[in-house]
């Protein structure tokens, strides 16, 4: 509107069209709402109308939808008012979803406000802003026709009796018209903003998006976890078994082979098979350790400590099994932390402690190394922090130069009492 070309652009017309259609739509809305309420009220006496009253409650939906469409007349940014998808197909689920939604009731509120208050304002604004300057501009015309060339009244207030004055008033009217165009723009803009605030709730939409994002992240992590297990199982039941069988066959062949180059080659092949088996075993373990699935986090952490090159004291006491994703995330955090201890810290001893209190899992990994670790710099911890945050948990690292380094993980979760865990005996 502050642009110089505003008066010559389509915007004043669009503003006028917006207000004009607003007046019409509002009047129609009022009529429909009154009619529906009256009919339903009358029928309610016969109890048949009671369900129909729900229709009144839902009447905000079509109004808001029409209003959002009308908003495009004046607003380039489309206003979205997405409603939630019903959980199940069918009218009943749709009704329950809608009636439970805040947006539905806000839209009903808007429809009532629109029907009672806003459309007369629209009508008034468009009338005043258009008719006032037009009638002033038309003064010479009025003087010639209605006034018979002698006198006419401008806005029924001032009497004009000469042609020069009439022309002067007409010029003034043109100025007034320009002014009114701006006023129209302001009025339509304010009106559109009000509509937007009431029916296009950005917050709800943002909330919905955040919920959707979070759940899609959780789905991703779950899919990732399932894939890990599948790969582990495939390697375990396929490649590993075949390699063991191969190694066994080679071992038997060595027994039968007479000493000589053949026996030497067999021995080499046998060694290589054994080496491949060892590597494959380590690989499978890194993908998803069996002890985690079978015995849970406590045993898996003890196992990780066993594997660590730096001696590790373990003091983890858990009441039972934890949900799978929590166990996995916590385990991989501990492994990554211990790997970092062995690789970078120069520590001589590390300690893993933890427990489950007040519905939260706590784990703490500390070492007596030189410190100075930074989770943000090229360490696998960032990815793990992401995985922990998907579970609503937190990962904190304290590592001042000179040490000691302390890593804390906290994940809210319910523990499953021992014995009822997902564990076949």
């Amino acid at each position: 509107m502050s642009r110089p070309g505003f008066l010559l652009s389509a915007w004043p017309w669009r503003a006028a069209a917006y207000l004009l259609t607003g007046a019409v739509t509002g009047a129609v809305t009022l009529l429909v709402i009154v009619a529906v309420t009256a009919v339903c009220g009358a029928l309610a006496l016969l109890l048949v109308g009671l369900p129909l009253l729900v229709m009144v409650a839902l009447s905000g939906l079509p109004v808001a939808s029409a209003e959002r469409r009308r908003l495009r007349l004046i607003d380039d940014d489309p206003a979205s008012g997405r409603h939630r998808e019903p959980a199940a197909p069918g009218l009943r689920a749709w009704l329950t979803t809608r009636l439970r939604e805040r947006a539905t009731w806000r839209e009903l509120g808007y429809a009532l406000l629109f029907a009672v208050l806003l459309w007369p304002v629209d009508a008034l604004a468009v009338t005043v802003a258009l008719l006032l300057p037009l009638s002033v501009v038309a003064t010479p015309l009025l003087l010639a026709t209605v006034g018979g060339g002698e006198e006419t009244k401008v806005l029924k207030l001032w009497t004009v009796s000469t042609w020069p004055t009439a022309c002067g008033v007409a010029v003034l009217g043109l100025l007034l018209m320009a002014l009114c165009c701006y006023a129209l723009g302001v009025a339509a803009g304010a009106r559109a903003e009000l509509t937007r605030v009431l029916i296009a709730s950005r917050e709800d939409e943002l909330d919905a998006r955040v919920v959707e994002l979070t759940s899609s992240r959780v789905r991703l992590v779950d899919a990732f976890e399932a894939e890990r297990r599948r790969i582990e199982r495939d390697l375990h039941d396929g490649a590993q078994q075949r390699l063991v069988a191969l190694s066994m066959t080679l071992g038997l062949a060595r027994l039968d082979a007479p000493p000589g180059p053949l026996a030497d080659q067999l021995a080499r092949a046998h060694e290589q098979a054994a080496q491949a088996l060892t590597e494959l075993r380590e690989l499978i373990h890194d993908i998803h350790p069996k002890v985690l699935t079978d015995y849970g986090l406590q045993a898996a952490v003890a196992d990780a400590a066993d594997r660590s090159a730096v001696p590790v004291d373990v003091d983890v006491e858990l009441p039972g099994r934890l949900p799978g994703p929590v166990e996995s995330a916590a385990y991989f955090v501990v492994c990554e932390a211990l790997a970092n201890v062995a690789r970078h810290s120069g520590a001589t001893r590390a300690r893993v402690s933890g427990g489950h209190r007040d519905g939260r899992l706590f784990l703490q990994v500390c070492d007596d190394g030189r410190g100075g670790a930074d989770a943000a710099v090229g360490s696998g911890l960032t990815g793990l922090a992401d995985r922990v945050s998907v579970l609503d948990g937190r990962l904190a690292l304290s590592s001042p130069p000179g040490g000691p380094t302390l890593l804390l993980v906290e994940v809210p979760c319910e523990s499953v009492p021992a014995g009822t865990a997902d564990h076949c005996g």
Binding site: V244, M248, A274, R281, P289, P311, C424
Partner: protein
Amino acid sequence: MLAEDSVLLREGLIGLLARFGHEVVAAVGDAPALLTAVEEHTPDIVVTDVRMPPGFQDEGLHAAVRLRERRPTLPVLVLSQYVQRTYASELLDSGDGSGVGYLLKDRVGQVEEFVDALHEVATGGTVLDPEVVRRLLRRRHDPLQHLTPREREVLALMAEGRSNGAIARTLVVSEAAIGKHINGILTKLNLPLEEGTHRRVAAVLAYLRG
């Protein structure tokens, strides 16, 4: 008696055992079948995989532990694809820890060592995979801190199920020296010489159970 769900390995193991003059009275593919087959055949030794149907978790191990509960003297050799202290402890805790073995599946390839281990378990010995032993030695410092390095070596080899002669050959010393070391270990681990206890097993268990 053999329990292994992979047909490939099962057939291979049957062939291997037959070659060394052992008879496989039954070869089954899942844990429930193992339990019923043992009832039926009363074998000299049970060789079982850890991970087996129906759940592909640790059914084999649990079947072995249950068998040992029913018949504490039944020798059981468990093959695992993983070195898992938890599995080993669970197994050693069944019965008095004698006549059990816990080996990585890879060791099957070392045909002769495997057959030796099988024999050791069948005659009431305890066999732990070298990998498990290595971890235990690294981890369990406390009960072992009074042992000399050589005594630890001897203890590790004992845990692997080697006889005195075999240990002597590995360390290139005389069998008498090994006997002396073992006595030293037993004294330091405070294991009294009693009739009827399997001292070698007791020594291994002493530090395993902490």
